[in-house]
């Protein structure tokens, strides 16, 4: 599959879980906005919620990276600056995404 086709397809594929999880997380609003840390932790530690959060993080950071790619390609005209911006974009989303995956994992599987 060509690069641009894959880019287009992955943007759509990651959007589907995000759309479903968006609705799910709205129904969980009281836990997401709780003022009590332990209440959030015990909610996140439920297996279904842990799974949902991990899928959300993967899809959100991947989808965000692809979207920012589009914006960079459209608005950064110089090829050199564009290539560097795309590289930086990839690194930032990768590092933050992996960090968030770790955080969800660490919160869910530890006895905090």
């Amino acid at each position: 599959m060509q690069g641009n086709t894959k880019h287009w397809l992955v943007t759509r594929l990651t959007s589907l879980p995000l759309a479903v999880l968006f609705i799910y997380f709205i129904t969980q609003g009281e836990y997401l906005t709780t003022r009590v840390r332990m209440e959030f932790i015990s909610w996140l530690q439920k297996p279904f919620v842990t799974g949902a959060a991990l899928i959300f993080v993967i899809c959100a950071f991947w989808h965000g990276k692809l979207g920012m790619d589009e914006i960079i390609i459209d608005y950064v005209p110089s090829k050199k600056t564009q290539a560097f911006s795309l590289f930086l974009n990839k690194i930032i989303f990768l590092v933050l995404g992996v960090a968030c995956l770790y955080a969800v994992y660490a919160i869910s599987f530890s006895k905090v």
């Binding site: 996140l44 979207g67 589009e70 914006i71 459209d74 968030c100």
Partner: protein, 129 residues
Amino acid sequence: MPTSNRPLSPFMLGPHYKPQLTSMLSILHRLTGAALAVGLLLLTWFLFAVLAGEHAFSIFRDFRESFIGQVMLFGWLFSFVYHFFNGLRHLAWDMVLGLSIKATYITGYIVVIFSVIATVWIWMHMGGK
């Protein structure tokens, strides 16, 4: 024309193109997408604040409950809701549905109305905390 003077693509803003609902909703999809991407930074902060302990969590909570935090959270919620509804519109277009000019206007207005109502409803439902 020298390369540096050419209008950037897409040049939908400025003197070259008349503002209309379709182009404005298109640029709003990008703006809300970029806002959501920035919001992922705050999501990262939130998760690590939870992980770090009560003190770190209370610092995040104080920020979230501050005026600027509430404005950002409301903006992030609106961005998510709009990007969600307009994203469904994009998925329909990908399946070759609703591509006529009339249909894009009708679904465009629906997306705007739904986004405003849903944002306010969710904000009130979640207690705006």
